[in-house]
Chain length 354, copies 2
């Protein structure tokens, strides 16, 4: 049985394509409710904020992603939107990095599905279509623009709301929006894509569909992070899109699983968490890790060291539990007998090195 | 201004995925009308025919594609479907090569749009959504499974019905269905993709989106036609999909334009017509043509020679008119001043060599 997978059905790509957002939304302004733009608050005083095509009745919500998105934050945003206007919005437009794109997806889902975001962490628990939603990345690498998940930290777990309804209806890929990202953040987010690709290409789930996307994404990552190209932002944006498409039929692996443990217990952001984890995974991804270190050296990136050093026994065990809870990732990495190959002690040993 | 382009929103890929067709259609059996399967009549006595998941009220239409699809043929099929059942079908499922996939798309469009298929040859002339439609390729290379066109020969021209409504709602990519294709047909259809890629990558319209898809498609074509791989059918299916996606932001070029002339006047099929044309286009695509000849040699393909030799002056002029009518293709190939670079005499000289 193969997955019959849904993909984002409408894409606009190009430098300056953000300027066409107003026109794109015009066709969707059919309901009484306005558009709700969800913008990373890093843009609070930046030019992009003024370019958001606000009409009367629309709202602009600035969201903070200093912490990774929490289910409680989604619930609060949904409550705020409902309190401001009893009508369902005509659309939700997320503008920002992976965290902001995930927040916008989750808000769009929770506007039409009752209860808390935490109720839907898992696979295919969402029962009703979301509000129309548009994703506009200003950072590339996570694949959030194309994925069928929105990764949230809940009271009990860090886990995505995975469903076909989670997908954006439209994405706007404007490489100009990547300008001005600090190098560290650009690197860590880009590495999320690079690591996706390595994990997908070395995984047991791989088929020719995922391979074609993963190989090209990897090649683009190499051009971006090891070579010099004037259009590197265009390339990184495509790498991220292709990396996300590669996962459609495949999965990530050990690195993503372990990084979820780091994020849950230590609140470490996803991109940097993946980098910290990957740097200790030579035994799974020797060539990929070596190349990753070349990329770090070229961009003078210094990873935090020993982030798990001061943790208590309980915290380490919690980290292991979160990481090993991601069964499909381990199965993709190690095969059906992954539980034998990755006992708790081994996972803990790996985490203790990070 | 960039195109905000629509893509096929649902894909299933994998060997044997055809077996999931019944389940995929189940969710769409909501209207009174049944499903109409449009199957290439080459499968009349083949196993695949028996695997079509027919339910009560469904119909199976065998279509003949010895000639390239004509608008009159579409009109006749639509009339036949309407005469058999006054209800609008719940879905149209096209199973076959590019011609069959195009027929199914056109029939789905003409069931909900009044008049003749010839009325809609052009760009964005279709005003109403088509019937739900599924495309299942049994030959790979044309990109018909992913394109927003259905190429038809009308009373006056060979030209596609280009619209967002033309796109399939679902495609089933099952590499097992490619087994048993005669070598010549496999080669000519695959070359349609290879030539797409060369024309897209060398075109003036190219951007990073089209480049990423086009380069990977080209690489897959090389693996299929110059190397030996046990999973070459999987690779060719992906090459075709990627080749089609590459065109989304780009265009084909001189070869496709000239081949339309050959097809219109001589009734030559699209794949072989592209090969005949490409073989004379060293002056535009030197490296691509050289590699194409290597591929021909490896697979012992002998192209028809001098197909335009016996044509009248009128016929030659008609061919030139059809070829030069495809302005976007020439602009992609030669730039905005293509009319100066490609006067009628030059086009005629190229055609006379074929």
């Amino acid at each position: 049985m193969y997955r019959n997978f849904a993909i984002v059905p409408r894409i606009i790509f190009g430098r300056g394509s953000f300027n066409q957002l107003d026109e794109i939304l015009a066709a969707r302004r059919t309901s009484d409710g306005g558009m709700v733009f969800i913008l990373d608050d890093v843009f609070q005083d930046r030019e992009l904020r003024g370019r958001v095509p606000l009409h009367e009745g629309d709202r602009l919500l600035l969201v903070n992603v200093d912490d990774e998105p929490k289910t409680s934050y989604i619930d609060a945003l949904v409550a705020e939107i409902k309190a401001g206007d009893s009508r369902v919005p005509a659309g939700i437009i997320g503008i920002g990095g992976g965290a902001t794109l995930d927040i916008a997806k989750a808000v769009a889902l929770l506007l039409t599905n009752p209860g808390s975001a935490a109720d839907y962490q898992g696979w295919d628990l969402i029962k009703r279509p979301a509000v129309y939603k548009v994703g506009i990345p200003t950072l590339s690498g996570t694949g959030a623009e194309i994925s069928r998940t929105t990764v949230l930290t809940g009271p009990e777990k860090k886990l995505g709301i995975n469903s076909d309804y989670t997908l954006y209806d439209q994405i706007v890929l404007d490489p100009e929006l990547l300008a001005g990202v600090p190098t560290d953040q650009w690197f860590y987010t880009g590495m999320d894509c690079y690591i996706h690709d390595v994990e997908s290409l070395q995984g047991t789930y791989l088929n020719e569909f995922s391979k074609a996307y993963g190989e090209k994404s990897l090649e683009l990552c190499r051009q971006v992070f090891l070579e010099e190209h004037p259009d590197r932002d265009d390339k990184l944006m495509m790498a991220s899109y292709f990396g996300g498409m590669s996962i459609a039929y495949s999965q990530v692996g050990a690195c993503h699983a372990l990084s979820y443990g780091l994020s849950f217990v230590l609140g470490i952001h996803h991109g940097i968490g993946c980098c910290i984890a990957f740097n200790q995974l030579d035994e799974f991804y020797a060539e990929g890790v070596a190349e990753f270190r070349q990329m770090m050296a070229k961009h003078d990136i210094r990873l935090p060291q020993q982030v798990t050093a001061g943790l208590s026994d309980d915290q380490m065990e919690q980290m292991v539990t979160v990481a090993l809870g991601l069964a499909p990732l381990w199965e993709n990495c190690l095969g059906k007998n992954w539980r034998e190959l990755m006992p708790r002690e081994r996972a803990r040993r790996l985490l203790s090195r990070m």
